[in-house]
């Protein structure tokens, strides 16, 4: 396997006596689709928060490529290509979809401090934003305000905003949370269609989707990495069955 684009070394975090991360070591090779699974409270979102800099680990380090990014701010990490989405929509309700994505593109291209030129003079930026929306099937509604979009479209806009930051590594926190099953398949098809230059790690509870779209799976339990492997290995793993799949989540179907 090639050198990891994202890796963590011995990440630890606790809130008081509650340990939410304990010696977490992950290494994501370039271009791989990773699923991060685990029961509620396993520390999945906490891990994403630490990796993206929104939560400071008690100890340990985070590496993006060869660089130690543990001390960088969330903004700086995004600029280096480490981008996330949110489990609960975190969008710009009164901006249109196109405005939202254009905003992100302008910020990345560092033209967002220009106040003496019209936005419409930035054709390249607007076109790039429009292309991202087109790829995610949002072009027909790109002039609607975000809060007027259907929920599933808002979930897609979450991803569009992340893509506008040109990620090397994309962390998707339950991208299909709250989306009906049929629509969530379409949503994952869009994720599967992303460029292979982007390494994707997604949190997902629906095992069918996990086994269909992930090439590797990390199982997190109680703030520890229980096991990591291909979907087939995970499905066959006795420990995973015991602590996770056995608890009412049903048999995984293999995709």
């Amino acid at each position: 396997m090639n050198a990891p684009v994202l890796a963590t070394r011995d990440l630890n975090k606790s809130f008081g006596s509650l340990v939410v991360a304990s010696g977490i070591e992950i290494a994501l090779p370039a271009g791989v689709r990773y699923a991060l699974i685990g029961p509620n409270g396993a520390g999945k979102t906490t891990l994403i928060n630490m990796v993206t800099g929104m939560l400071r680990p008690d100890s340990g380090s985070i590496l993006l490529g060869a660089d130690d990014i543990t001390a960088l701010s969330p903004e700086q990490r995004v600029r280096l290509g480490l981008v996330r989405t949110f489990q609960i929509n975190s969008l710009f309700p009164h901006l249109t979809a196109l405005e939202s994505v254009t905003l992100a593109v302008c910020e990345r291209r560092r033209v967002a401090r220009t106040w003496w030129r019209q936005l419409t003079a930035y054709r390249d930026e607007i076109d790039e934003a429009y292309d991202i929306l087109t790829a995610l099937t949002l072009a027909p509604v790109c002039h609607r305000r975000t809060r007027e979009l259907a929920y599933g479209q808002q979930r897609l806009l979450e991803i569009a905003l992340a893509l506008a930051a040109k990620p090397k590594v994309l962390l998707l926190d339950e991208p299909a949370a709250g989306v009906p099953r049929e629509e969530s398949k379409e949503l994952f098809a869009a994720i599967a269609g992303l460029s292979r230059d982007i390494t994707v790690l997604f949190i997902e509870h629906d095992m069918e989707l996990v086994f269909r779209f992930a090439s590797r799976v990390i199982v997190l339990v109680g703030g520890r990495v229980l096991v990591e492997g291909t979907p087939a290995e995970i499905a066959a793993d006795e420990r995973v069955r015991a602590v996770y799949l056995g608890k009412g989540h049903g048999e995984p179907r293999r995709g």
């Binding site: 981008v83 910020e107 967002a112 936005l119």
Partner: protein
């Protein structure tokens, strides 16, 4: 004024249409010339309205576009007013240089203060701006030797504008001067809100947490807009000083900060014109009500504010724009707010 006109084809055309001048805007600016013809005896009031409108617009830039709530915005108005007054008192009565220097001084103060502002949101921000305003008011009060304290600054005398137009008792020069300054600042603000920077400001207002997650640093944006707003507030204060040839503590007291917030919320935030309309309504109402009863004129203003907030949560302009957006409204007034009145763009 954001109106949901049918979307023209293509991403660019729609955004261009959004930024285009609408007929109602031309009507508005032509109407600002009416006082010269219709009510020449009210030009002093008209100049006060223009000054207040400029001040309200500067607050709209930070409150309506970047979501920065300030209860101490009069600090910059007053700082500009005193700077303009002192320059004149110290022997330089040329209005334009005085105006520029006052704007610069207020902007410098705003820039320094913006480093604190950019670190806070919501309630903390209200308290900090309030404290800052009170601090400056007390400083001006106690620095008797400089500001004249509670008696106000005496000895302000302006030279004629362009060596030709004396600031007269009837307010001809004052209103022309204030109106031109207002219009220029409006053009600047309009360009600013339609720029990539303006879009980022709206992003900050909408969701500052998400701004971080798309790699945007909000603080430099906040510092920039706060400085620009402080310059405009300072210019407004300077015009008041220059046209009345006095400066009082009232130019930077809490009452003025509160009034300007009321004016902006009455008119509607985040639409540039909200502060302008608010200033027109508020000052005319004050003029009329205080004519009826000089002591209790705040009573009807209070009722007006409550009614507007209850029934028009987006201010008077927000309410009007909703009316125009109905089917009947579009039929009657659609042409006024349409962005395609110049004909189809290629």
């Amino acid at each position: 004024m954001a109106l949901s006109a049918p979307a023209p084809a293509g991403p660019l055309q729609y955004l261009e249409a959004q930024a285009r001048w609408r007929p109602i805007e031309l009507v508005f600016w032509l109407a600002t010339l009416l006082p010269f013809v219709l009510t020449p005896s009210y030009l002093v009031l008209a100049s006060q309205i223009a000054v207040t409108a400029l001040f309200a617009m500067s607050l709209d830039l930070i409150l309506g576009y970047a979501g920065i709530v300030s209860l101490g915005h009069a600090a910059f108005f007053g700082f500009g007013a005193y700077t303009a007054g002192l320059i004149s008192k110290w022997g330089w009565g040329e209005p334009l240089t005085g105006l520029v220097l006052a704007g610069f001084a207020a902007g410098l103060l705003g820039y320094l203060f913006s480093f604190i502002i950019a670190r806070f949101r919501h309630l903390a921000l209200i308290m900090i701006t309030l404290g800052f305003g009170l601090l400056l008011e007390e400083a001006a009060n106690s620095a008797n030797w400089l500001t004249g304290g509670a008696d106000g600054l005496q000895g302000v005398h302006m030279w004629p504008l362009f060596n030709t137009f004396q600031f007269d008792l009837y307010g001809y020069t004052a209103y022309s001067y204030a109106l031109i300054a207002l219009f220029l600042c409006f053009l600047l603000s309009r360009r600013l809100i339609n720029s990539p920077f303006g879009l980022s400001l709206r992003g900050i207002r909408e969701n500052i947490v998400r701004m971080r997650a798309i790699g945007a640093e909000s603080r430099p944006h906040i510092r920039t807009i706060f400085t620009i707003a402080a310059v405009m507030a300072g210019v407004a204060g300077a015009i008041l000083t220059q046209s009345t040839e006095t400066v009082s503590l009232g130019s930077l007291d809490f009452q003025r900060s509160a009034d300007i917030l009321v004016i902006l919320i009455l008119g509607g935030t985040g639409r540039l014109y909200g502060g302008l309309i608010g200033a027109v309504i508020y000052l005319i109402a004050r003029d009329q009500f205080s004519g009826i009863n000089p002591q209790y004129w705040y009573f009807p203003i209070g009722i007006l504010l409550i009614l507007v907030v209850l029934f028009l949560p987006n201010g008077i302009l927000g309410g009007l724009s909703e009316m125009v957006n109905t089917e009947r409204g579009q039929r009657w007034f659609g042409w006024l707010t349409s962005s395609s009145w110049r004909g189809k763009s290629p």
